[in-house]
């Protein structure tokens, strides 16, 4: 997250009303200082000046002062009213989207965000928006209450099951901004984040038409395999190898546990990603988490293309140092090195033991 | 407020005076304030339930009316009269305690307890009726019935607003099949009525419908909320009534032993306060639960 300077006073202002929130904040800081300094000063000065000089000497007989009481009742009241008014005005702005907003539908669920643009694009944990266009999010959740939080835009809203809630912003600066879930929602609450990408109109159009930075499917698949989804952490050889070797697997005949064989075609690979427990290779544990709901169709195609391209002997790269290889245990890949913090381990609701770990995964995965 | 005299080393303690008090007046005042404070917090306790009732009734009035119609206002009304009369006998108990009339005290306590027990008996009848008709909200707590030979299952072709009654009497030839003892509600005619006449609330317009059609299951869920609140509220009230009866048992024993007279009848009065409170809660529960949708029964709108 970029900050204005090394002292982290406030995050970037990336929306049209961010400055209002910051202004309100600074006003409150000023008010706080204005009240605190006299009081603290008075405490120090009085404490020093009127300290006990001789044991058991009493202080002066002062009962009170109506004038003072009135003054310091009215002034705080008036000041607090200004704070209320300021807050109400800014809030009203935050709650009232302009008419020309483009709508994006958001569905939260444990523990991911699914977005859908009006033009049909679907995204997971990411939201691409064009610079300068007003975006209105219509949101709900499939399970528990979450909260779509965007600190740099200075806005957030709970998503509540059974109804729609709304949030809007107009981005003013291109860049990559945090999305946090900000209502505690269970196991992977801290991992339920993502990014909002504000792009120049031209880049956004590019993105809309599906041409993401001009990658071929195999390149995209490789990127997903090694960096974004952490497949390499189990499938790339080396001491961490827990999953079947994929070099040359496409087209071969695979032996499954419990007997039976299958030809590893497109469907097999696709099924292994979406429903791994149904076809486990003999000799391996059924520990691969499902990526259902975490990969788009486009990404699935890219992965299949990539696996197809793995000829025997082609060494797959081990996870690069900067990549997140999210551990299958219930931790988040929250190192920030990877943009796409997907946590493939989805804790099975019915199967948690008291320690809260997913019994299907090995503990102590040292993926860092 | 109170200026109490000094206690000397030797103090005559009247029977029942606790050691922390300097005289009976202080004790009585304390006990009285204590009981009133206790009743205030009981009001707040029930208040949470009344709030929940308020919220859901304003959201789903037709479901509440439908649910309420199956409650038998006869039994509810009888219970109301029983409790009001029991409050009378309780007040008379206090009166005769004050007069020091031991026999009449005891008689009226017994009468009060009889009425209280009657109340609980009627509630048992009502709960039993719910059990037999699949109206207990919790799955598995209703009568499990597999159905008689040749019996129709729940009318499957019929839309939910043409089902007569929520579910038929168990003795009837057809219906009441409930193998899992679940909450059953088939009749959504009141929702249809409100839809036709155009006074569904916003929440109802969403809550009763799926795909634009009136959905019997969704309506049933809202009726189930009514019954949930019914059971929790009357159940909590019945619990308080049981506590009241235990209190009366103790009171009966102490009154029989002749503890109470003109100078010392505070425990009777405090028990009376508690009893009246239980009565008053019922006075609120009865119309809110039993009398909601009665105008619909007579083809009202």
């Amino acid at each position: 997250m970029q900050t204005t300077n090394w002292v982290p006073l406030f995050p970037e202002q990336a929306s049209t009303f961010a400055w209002q929130v910051d202004a309100l904040y600074f006003y409150l800081v000023a008010v706080s200082i204005a009240f605190s300094i006299p009081i603290v000063l008075a405490i120090f000065v009085f404490g020093m000046k009127y300290r006990e000089r001789e044991k058991y000497v009493s202080g002066a007989e002062i009962h009170g002062s109506m004038v003072l009481e009135t003054t310091w009742s009215i002034i705080p009241f008036v000041v607090s009213m200004t704070i209320f008014l300021g807050g109400a005005i800014v809030f009203f702005n935050q709650m009232t989207p302009p008419d020309d907003a483009m709508t994006v539908y958001v569905v939260g669920k444990q523990w991911m965000w699914k977005m859908q643009h009006e033009t049909g694009q679907r995204e997971i944990n990411e939201l691409h928006v064009p610079l300068g266009r007003t975006v209105k999010l219509t949101m709900t959740t499939e399970d528990v209450i979450h909260d779509f939080g965007l600190p740099e835009f200075r806005t957030k809203a709970d998503v509540v099951p059974g109804r729609y809630t709304y949030l809007w912003f107009t981005p003013t600066k291109p860049g990559k901004y945090h999305l946090f879930c900000q209502e505690y929602c269970g196991l992977n609450h801290s991992g339920m984040g993502g990014w909002v990408y504000v792009m120049e109109q031209r880049d956004y159009d590019n993105w809309l038409s599906g041409n993401v930075s001009g990658q071929t499917p195999v390149e995209m698949g490789k990127d997903l395999f090694e960096n974004k989804l952490g497949c390499a952490s189990c499938h790339a050889g080396g001491p961490q190898q827990r999953g079947a070797k994929l070099e040359g697997v496409f087209g071969s005949t695979v032996k499954l546990t419990g007997g039976g064989t299958v030809v590893a075609d497109d469907n097999y690979i696709r099924n292994s990603i979406l429903n791994p427990a149904s076809q486990v290779v003999e000799g391996y544990q059924p520990i691969m988490p499902t990526f259902k709901g975490q990969v788009t169709e486009e990404q699935l195609n890219a992965l299949v293309a990539y696996v197809k391209s793995l000829t025997p002997g082609a060494a797959t790269k081990s996870p690069s140092p900067g990549a997140t290889a999210p551990s299958p245990a219930n931790t988040t890949g929250g190192t920030g090195a990877s943009a796409n913090n997907m946590t493939p381990a989805k804790a099975d609701r019915g199967k948690q033991n008291a320690a809260g770990s997913n019994p299907n995964t090995p503990s102590n995965s040292n993926s860092r | 407020m109170s200026t109490h005299g000094h206690s000397d080393k030797f103090v005559y303690h009247e029977p029942g005076l606790q050691h922390q008090f300097s005289d009976m007046e202080q004790q009585e005042e304390s006990v009285s304030i204590g009981m009133w404070m206790f009743l205030v917090q009981e009001i707040m306790f029930f208040g949470g339930l009344f709030t929940a009732y308020l919220v859901f009734r304003s959201k789903y009035p037709m479901a509440f009316a439908a649910g309420s119609n199956h409650l038998d206002a006869f039994w509810g009304g009888l219970n109301t009269i029983v409790l009001i009369v029991s409050s009378l006998t309780m007040a008379l108990t206090v009166y005769y305690a004050q007069k020091g009339n031991r026999n009449l005290q005891v008689i009226f306590i017994i009468l009060t307890m009889l009425f209280g027990a009657t109340f609980l008996g009627v509630k048992a009848i009502e709960y039993n009726d719910k059990y037999h008709h699949g109206l207990v909200p919790i799955a598995g707590l209703n009568l499990r019935a597999k159905g008689t030979a040749g019996a129709e299952q729940h009318p499957e072709g019929k839309p939910c607003w043409e089902v007569a009654g929520h579910s038929a009497e168990p003795a009837a030839e057809h219906q009441y099949v409930n193998p899992k003892g679940e909450f059953e509600w088939a009749d959504c005619s009141l929702a249809k009525l409100a839809q036709d006449e155009g006074y569904l609330t916003t929440a109802e317009q969403i809550g009763y419908f799926s795909n634009g059609e009136l959905d019997g299951n969704k309506f049933r869920d809202k009726v189930r909320i009514f019954y949930y609140l019914y059971f929790v509220m009357t159940g909590l009230h019945a619990l308080h009534m049981i506590v009241g009866l235990l209190l009366m048992t103790w009171l009966l024993w102490t009154a029989y032993k002749g503890y109470y007279n003109a100078d010392y009848y505070m425990p009777v009065e405090m028990s009376g306060l508690y009893w009246h409170f239980v009565d008053i809660v019922w006075i609120f529960l009865f119309p809110l639960l039993y009398l909601l949708g009665r105008h619909f029964l007579h083809a009202g709108h």
Binding site: I43, Y50, I89, Q182, C185, T332, T335 | -
Partner: protein, 560 residues
């Protein structure tokens, strides 16, 4: 010699009276079945300290986990349980009972000149209920705990959580009745048990504060009781009013929950303010400035505190118009607290201020509550709250008012009345050291969290983006200092029980009624029941204290 002299005469006993409430009977049964409010207070003291330590262990665990951005010390599921249990233990089993059940129970009868509370058996039952609820909560903790957050939001807590919600919810439900009975007892006592001459406006402000608190306890706690009960029923039976999949409304839960839980924070802080009024006034040896204003402010806070619960729901989907009403009222409820701050400061003016350990805590309260209260305004202002809610700003705010406020006041009160309760003085040197450690450690722990919150760091996160790490490290460092500062009193206070100097009736020569009986007091609090003829905080002629004599005795070595 008239009665007044007889009372005052006892003020000069030094040493520990041979027969007092502690040693009058020493069997286990005499403690467990006691009706003596002082013994009940001590048993509460031990119990709340246990829960405080447990909650503190959880706090330490949280801070250790947050040293690094990843969830590497604990699994996230475990972390979720740790912060939940930290909240539950601290709020329900430590903060809410602490000052009322320990100091209130001990002091209110003495301060009003009574022999005991009005309803001693109710007091004992209140303790039993607390023990039972605490045991149930600990049992729930040991079999696996809960991970819903102390706020138990639905439908996560009713339908999705895999933890022991019902047991812990039941424990909280039962514990509520302990609170209610304590409050009930206080109201009755303050109304009916005041000694002759103790009019309402001669009551110490500690007593006024507890009266206000008791109102909140009685009116608010039953609502959370029924809410948690409904939650438990819904969890077990899968039928209810909070889960939308069965027709319920999760926001209703939030409203019902916060209807109590906001006044609950006033249950926590009002007694603390009562203690601070005592500390500031007595250690300035001066009548408190604006007595009536402080007294009425306490009542105002209690009343208005019931009207602001919606400020926890600004982003929940609540209507913005309702939000505006709540925001307005939140600003209003801030004003009485401000009035108190000003009055306390003015009390120091032309006082004779001594800086004993209790006073250090009192002054610490003033500084920290100032920040805590002001940051409450930040959160009450809706536009800002949208950005700040559910971030570490909120965490910092409530720790400033609850720890920097209430816990510091509690520690101040314990130190202040320790000689009265035990007859012994603790080491003033170690007292001062730990007070300063607590103050410094506290600020270092929680001030960075304001910055973290504004930067956007969400709360209840086991893992966070790495740019937040530096401030988190500061915070954890501060927590270690704070922890040491909090542990030290345990050591030197316990040490003083055996080795502390006998304090005498009135170690600080103060005019309050509690100082006009022996330390520790006799079973029925006063040798002869007092008649009050002096005003509250009367340091002048009318107090009847012979300060010359006291100075003489202070100059001469004490002969025990």
């Amino acid at each position: 010699m008239n009665a007044q002299d007889a009372v005052l005469e006892t003020g000069y006993q030094s040493g520990i009276p041979p027969v007092n409430y502690l040693n009058i009977k020493t069997t286990l049964a005499s403690w467990l079945l006691t009706k003596d409010h002082k013994r009940i207070a001590l048993m509460y003291l031990v119990s709340v300290s246990v829960f405080f330590m447990i909650g503190g262990l959880f706090a330490a665990t949280i801070r250790l986990e947050l040293l690094t951005p990843a969830s590497d010390l604990l699994e996230t599921g475990t972390y979720n349980k740790v912060f939940t249990e930290h909240g539950i233990m601290m709020i329900f089993f430590f903060l809410i009972p602490s000052i009322p059940a320990v100091l209130g129970n001990f002091l209110i009868p003495i301060m009003i000149g009574a022999k005991d509370l009005a309803l001693p058996r109710i007091n004992l039952i209140s303790l039993y209920i607390y023990w039972f609820a605490g045991a149930l909560a600990l049992y729930g903790l040991m079999v696996g705990g809960v991970d819903t957050g102390w706020t138990f939001y639905t439908p996560y807590s009713t339908t999705f959580s895999n933890t022991y919600v019902m047991i812990v919810g039941l424990a909280i439900f039962i514990n509520g009745f302990s609170s209610i009975l304590t409050g009930l007892n206080f109201i009755v006592t303050i109304h009916t048990m005041r000694a002759p001459g103790m009019t309402w406006f001669r009551l110490p402000l500690f007593v006024w504060a507890h009266y206000a608190v008791s109102l909140v306890m009685i009116l608010g706690t039953p609502v959370v009781a029924i809410t948690v009960l409904l939650l438990a029923i819904e969890r077990v039976s899968r039928v209810g009013i909070f889960d939308p999949s069965i027709g319920g409304d999760p926001i209703l839960f939030q409203h019902l929950f916060w209807f109590y839980s906001h006044p609950a924070v006033y249950i926590m802080v009002l007694p603390g303010m009562g203690v601070v009024s005592e500390l500031i006034s007595n250690f300035s040896r001066k009548k408190i400035f604006g007595y009536e204003f402080i007294a009425f402010s306490s009542i105002a806070i209690a009343v208005f505190g019931f009207l602001v619960w919606g400020h926890h729901l600004f982003v929940s989907g609540q209507s913005p118009y309702a939000g505006m009403v709540f925001s307005f009222l939140t600003m209003v409820v801030a004003v009485p607290s401000a009035i108190k701050m000003f009055n306390w400061t003015a009390t120091l003016y032309k006082g004779s201020v001594s800086f004993d350990t209790p006073m250090l805590y009192g002054l610490g309260f003033m500084g920290l509550f100032l920040i805590g209260g002001l940051t409450g305004l930040f959160l009450g202002s809706m536009g800002l709250d949208v950005h700040l809610t559910d971030t570490y700003f909120v965490v910092a705010h409530f720790h400033y008012v609850m720890v920097g406020g209430q816990v510091i006041a509690y520690l101040g009160g314990i130190h202040y009345w320790w000689p009265k309760m035990t007859g012994r003085m603790y080491s003033e040197f170690w007292g001062k050291i730990s007070a300063m450690l607590v103050f410094v450690g506290f600020n270092l722990t929680f001030f960075p969290q304001f910055l973290l919150g504004y930067m956007g760091m969400p709360r209840r996160y086991a893992a966070y983006p790495p740019e937040f790490q530096v401030l988190n490290i500061f915070s954890t460092a501060g927590a270690s200092v704070l922890g040491i500062g909090m542990l030290m009193p345990v050591i030197y206070l316990v040490h003083s029980l055996k080795f502390g100097k006998p304090a005498g009736d009135n170690p600080w020569m103060l005019p309050g009624l509690e100082w006009r009986t022996t330390s520790p007091p006799p079973l029925e609090n006063f040798a002869t029941p007092p008649v009050v003829t002096w005003e509250a905080y009367e340091f002048g002629e009318g107090s009847g204290l012979d300060l010359e004599e006291a100075r003489r005795r202070a100059a001469a070595p004490a002969i025990l």
